[in-house]
C-alpha cells in the first residue's frame, strides 16, 4: 500500500505515516490494529464460508453427492467455530469499534494500546490453532462441543480447536478491558455519558459481556480439554459427572455471545439511520437503557437452549419467561429506529439500505426467537432448521448486514475514498434477497420437521434445500462484490473529503483518513449526539440527501 494509492495528497495520515511491514505488525495505533483485524477476519470469513458452501452443495440431493458423513460433520463444525469466534465476535467491535471508539470520544488512542495489539495476536494465534485442527484431522462435534461426545467418542482434533477458542477468548477479554477503561477514562471534556454516540454505548455493553461471559467459556473449554487429553473425569457420567453441567456452563457464555454479536450491530445501525434520515435519534435515553438491559438480562436466559435436556420444568419456565423479557428492550430498539425515520428526510445510500435490511431481518429473527422461547413450540422445532434459520436471521441478517452497513458508512473515513455508490446499492439489495432466499425456506422445512446437522434427508425436503442452496449462491455473490468495488475504490475512488455524509459525530471532524494521533485540532464536542436539526422540529427538505453533500465535498 502506498500513500499515492490511498490517503490525502501530502497530508500525513495513519496509512502513509510509515510503510514497513514491521510498522504494521508492531503498531500500537488503534486504527492500524483495526485494519489488521479487518484482514484477519476476512480470511476467517472466507474459510468459514468455503466450508458452508460445500455443505449447501452437498444438500442439493437427499442422499448426498460427494461428502462422507464424517466430512459433512467436520465441515459444518468448522463453519460454526470459525464464523462465531473468529469472524462474528471480533467483526464489529475489533474492526469498526477499534477504529472508531477513540475518534468518537475525542481521544488519541485506546487506554492500553499495547494490550490492543496483544489482543490481535491472541486472536490470530487462537485462529491458527483452530485452523490447525481443521487441517490435522478436523472437528466433528459441532460448534457446541457437547460432552460426552466431545470428550470420549469423537476422533477429531477437538482439543486443538478448543485450545484455539480458549486463546481467542483472552483476546476478547483484553478488548473488553481496554474498551471499558477507554470509555471511562478518555472521553474528552464535554463528551459526557449521555452525549456518547449509541455506537459507543453498544461497545460498552458488549465489553461488559466480553469481560464477564468469556472467562466462563474459557473454563468450560479448559475442563473439556483436561478431560479429553488427560483422562481426568469431570463431566463423565461413569464417575458421577454430569454432561448437563457442561451445557449450562457453555450456554452461560454462548447465549451472551449472541448479544456480543448483535449489540454492536445495533450501535452501527443507530449511527447510520440517524444520518440518512437526517434525524435525531428517537428516545436516546431509552436506547441506552435498552442496550444495557439487553446485556444484563442476556446473562440469565441461557437455559432456553436446554428445554429438552431434562432440566427441571421450573427452570425451563423461568428461562422461558426471562427470554420473553429480553425481547422488550430489543423491541424498544426496533420501535425507536422506526420512530427515528418518522418525518425524517430519508435517502437510500448503500449504508442505509443495509441498515433498513437489518431492521427487517433482525425483527424476523427476534420474533422467531419468541416462538423458540415458548417451551411447547421449542419442543416441536428443537434441533430443526427452524432454529438454524432463526439464529442466522440474527447473526447474518442482523450482525453481518450491520457490519456491511458500518463498513460502507465509515469506508470514506477509514480510507479517504468513495466507492461506487451504484455497485454498493446493488450489492446491498442482492445481499438482502440472497439472504432471505437462503434462510426463509429453512424456517418452513424446519417447522415441517427437517432436523439440523443431517447429511441425508427425506426427499420431501429437497425443494427447500434446493431453494436454500440457490439463495446461498446469490448470497455468496453478494459477499464477493464489496471486496471488488471497495478494493477498486482504494486506487480509483474519488477523494471523500472529511465528512461526505454530512454526519454528526466527532470522527467526522478530523481528516479522512485520520492523522496518526487522530485529531490535528481538538474537535468540538456537540451539546448532544445526532444534532441533525434544531430540537422540536423535523428536518427541512433541503437538509436531505447527504449524497449531494458528498458530491459537493468531492468537487471542492
Amino acid at each position: 500500500m502506498s500513500d499515492i494509492a490511498i490517503g490525502g495528497v501530502g497530508r500525513r495520515n495513519y496509512l502513509n505515516d510509515s510503510h514497513s511491514i514491521r510498522s504494521w505488525l508492531l503498531t500500537t495505533d488503534h486504527k492500524r490494529i483495526a485494519i489488521l483485524y479487518a484482514i484477519s477476519i476476512t480470511i476467517f470469513f472466507l474459510i468459514g464460508g468455503a466450508a458452508i458452501s460445500l455443505v449447501r452443495l452437498e444438500l442439493l440431493t437427499p442422499n448426498g453427492m460427494f461428502l462422507s458423513d464424517d466430512s459433512y460433520n467436520k465441515l459444518f463444525t468448522i463453519h460454526g467455530v470459525i464464523m462465531v469466534w473468529f469472524f462474528l465476535i471480533p467483526s464489529i467491535p475489533n474492526t469498526l469499534g477499534n477504529f472508531l471508539l477513540p475518534l468518537m470520544i475525542g481521544a488519541s488512542d485506546v487506554a492500553f494500546p499495547r494490550l490492543n495489539l496483544l489482543s490481535w495476536y491472541l486472536n490470530i494465534t487462537g485462529g491458527l490453532f483452530t485452523v490447525a485442527a481443521l487441517v490435522g484431522g478436523g472437528v466433528d462435534a459441532g460448534w457446541t462441543f457437547y460432552t460426552p461426545f466431545s470428550t470420549e467418542f469423537s476422533h477429531g482434533a477437538i482439543a486443538l480447536a478448543a485450545i484455539g477458542v480458549f486463546i481467542s477468548g483472552f483476546s476478547s477479554i483484553a478488548t473488553g478491558v481496554n474498551f471499558i477503561a477507554t470509555i471511562h477514562m478518555l472521553r474528552m471534556p464535554g463528551v459526557t455519558w449521555f452525549r456518547l454516540p449509541l455506537f459507543v454505548w453498544s461497545l460498552y455493553a458488549t465489553s461488559m459481556m466480553f469481560v464477564l461471559a468469556t472467562p466462563v467459556l474459557a473454563v468450560t473449554l479448559l475442563l473439556l480439554v483436561i478431560e479429553r487429553l488427560f483422562h481426568l473425569p469431570l463431566f463423565d457420567p461413569d464417575y458421577g459427572g454430569d454432561p448437563l453441567l457442561f451445557q449450562h456452563l457453555f450456554w452461560f457464555y454462548s447465549h451472551p455471545a449472541v448479544y456480543i454479536m448483535v449489540l454492536p450491530s445495533m450501535g452501527v445501525i443507530t449511527e447510520v439511520i440517524t444520518c440518512f434520515a437526517r434525524r435525531r435519534v428517537f428516545g436516546y435515553a431509552f436506547m441506552v437503557y435498552a442496550l444495557v438491559s439487553i446485556a444484563g438480562i442476556g446473562f440469565f436466559v441461557w437455559g432456553h437452549h436446554m428445554f429438552v435436556s431434562g432440566q427441571s420444568p421450573l427452570a425451563s419456565l423461568i428461562f422461558s419467561f426471562l427470554s420473553f423479557v429480553v425481547a422488550v428492550p430489543s423491541a424498544i430498539k426496533v420501535f425507536n429506529w422506526t420512530a427515528t425515520l418518522y418525518r425524517g428526510q430519508i435517502s437510500f445510500e448503500a449504508p442505509m439500505i443495509y441498515a433498513l435490511g437489518f431492521v427487517g431481518l433482525f425483527t424476523v429473527g427476534g420474533l422467531t426467537g419468541l416462538f423458540l422461547a415458548s417451551i411447547p413450540v421449542d419442543i416441536h422445532v428443537h434441533d430443526t432448521y427452524f432454529v438454524v434459520a432463526h439464529f442466522h436471521y440474527i447473526m447474518v441478517g442482523g450482525a453481518v448486514s450491520a457490519f456491511f452497513a458500518g463498513l460502507h458508512f465509515w469506508w470514506p473515513k477509514i480510507t479517504g475514498r468513495l466507492y461506487s455508490e451504484s455497485w454498493a446499492r446493488f450489492a446491498a439489495i442482492l445481499m438482502f434477497f440472497g439472504f432471505n432466499f437462503t434462510f426463509f425456506p429453512q424456517f418452513v422445512m424446519g417447522y415441517a420437521g427437517m432436523p439440523r446437522r443431517y447429511h441425508v434427508y427425506p426427499p420431501e425436503f429437497q425443494v427447500y434445500h434446493v431453494m436454500s442452496t440457490i439463495g446461498a449462491t446469490v448470497l455468496a455473490a453478494a459477499y464477493l462484490l464489496p471486496p471488488v468495488y471497495l478494493g477498486w475504490s482504494l486506487w480509483r475512488g474519488r477523494r471523500a473529503g472529511d465528512n461526505p455524509w454530512g454526519a454528526s459525530g466527532l470522527e467526522w471532524q478530523t481528516n479522512s483518513p485520520p492523522p496518526p494521533k487522530n485529531f490535528v485540532r481538538r474537535p468540538e464536542a456537540p451539546d448532544q449526539p445526532y444534532d441533525y436539526h434544531p430540537a422540536g422540529q423535523a428536518p427541512r427538505a433541503d437538509e436531505r440527501s447527504p449524497r449531494r453533500a458528498a458530491n459537493a465535498a468531492a468537487d471542492r
Binding site: A111, P113, A181, F230, Y239, L245, F252
Partner: protein, 211 residues
C-alpha cells in the same frame, strides 16, 4: 508539565490519570478472573453436592501438611507485595527491590513445595488413571478437580512471578520510575492469585478432616 516522566505513555497527558486508568483496568480484568475461577468453583460445588461423602473421603487423602505450608508461604508473599507497593509509594527504591524479590522468592518456594506434593500424590496413587488408589468413582472426579485447579492456579502464579521479577529488575536498573502504576497493578493481580488459593485451601485440604 511536571508529570512528563518516562512513566507517561500514550495516549495519556497526565500521570495521575494514567495511574487511575491502569488501576481501573486491572480491576476490570480481576472481575473477569473472578468469573473464570467462579465457574470452576461452581463445578466443584455442584459435584460435591452430588457426591458429598466421596468428596470428603477423597479430600482427606490430600497432603494437609504441604497445603498448609503453601498457604503460609503465599500469605507471606502477599505481605511482602503490599510492602513493595507501599515502598514505591513513599519512594524507597531499595525496599522496593528487596520486597519484590522476596515476593517472587515466596512464589517460587510455593511452586517447589507444590512439586514435592505432586510427587507424593503420584506415589500415593492419587493421579486418576489405571493405578488410582481410591475406590469410590467420584473420588476420581475430586482428584481430577484437584489436579486441574492446582495446575491452573500454578500457571497464574507463574505469570505473577515473571511479572514481579521483571518489575524488580526494572526498578533495580532504574528503568522504571517509582511513580509508575505497574506496582499497584502487579500487586492487585498477585493478591487475586493469593485469594484464589485461600479459597482452594479449605476446598481441597480441609474437607473430611473436621471430626
Amino acid at each position: 508539565m511536571s508529570d512528563q516522566t518516562p512513566a507517561l505513555r500514550e495516549p495519556w497527558d497526565a500521570l495521575a490519570k494514567q495511574r487511575e486508568a491502569a488501576t481501573f483496568g486491572i480491576w476490570v480484568f480481576l472481575a473477569s478472573e473472578l468469573l473464570f475461577f467462579g465457574a470452576i468453583f461452581l463445578v466443584y460445588a455442584y459435584l460435591r453436592a452430588l457426591h458429598s461423602t466421596a468428596f470428603e473421603q477423597a479430600s482427606s487423602h490430600t497432603s494437609v501438611f504441604y497445603g498448609t505450608l503453601n498457604t503460609a508461604v503465599l500469605l507471606t508473599s502477599s505481605m511482602t507485595m503490599v510492602l513493595a507497593a507501599r515502598a514505591a509509594d513513599i519512594k524507597v527504591k531499595a525496599a522496593v527491590v528487596v520486597c519484590l524479590s522476596l515476593t517472587a522468592a515466596c512464589g517460587l518456594i510455593f511452586l517447589v513445595v507444590k512439586g514435592f506434593e505432586y510427587k507424593q500424590d503420584i506415589d500415593d496413587g492419587l493421579l486418576p488413571g489405571d493405578h488410582f488408589a481410591l475406590a469410590a468413582a467420584a473420588a476420581k472426579m475430586f482428584f481430577s478437580f484437584y489436579w486441574g485447579i492446582t495446575v491452573v492456579h500454578a500457571v497464574h502464579l507463574s505469570i505473577g512471578i515473571v511479572a514481579v521479577l521483571r518489575l524488580a529488575l526494572d526498578v533495580y536498573r532504574d528503568r522504571l520510575p517509582l511513580r509508575s502504576p505497574q506496582y499497584e497493578v502487579t500487586a492487585l493481580y498477585w493478591h487475586l492469585v493469593d485469594i484464589i488459593w485461600i479459597i482452594l485451601y479449605p476446598l481441597l485440604y480441609l474437607g473430611g478432616r473436621s471430626s
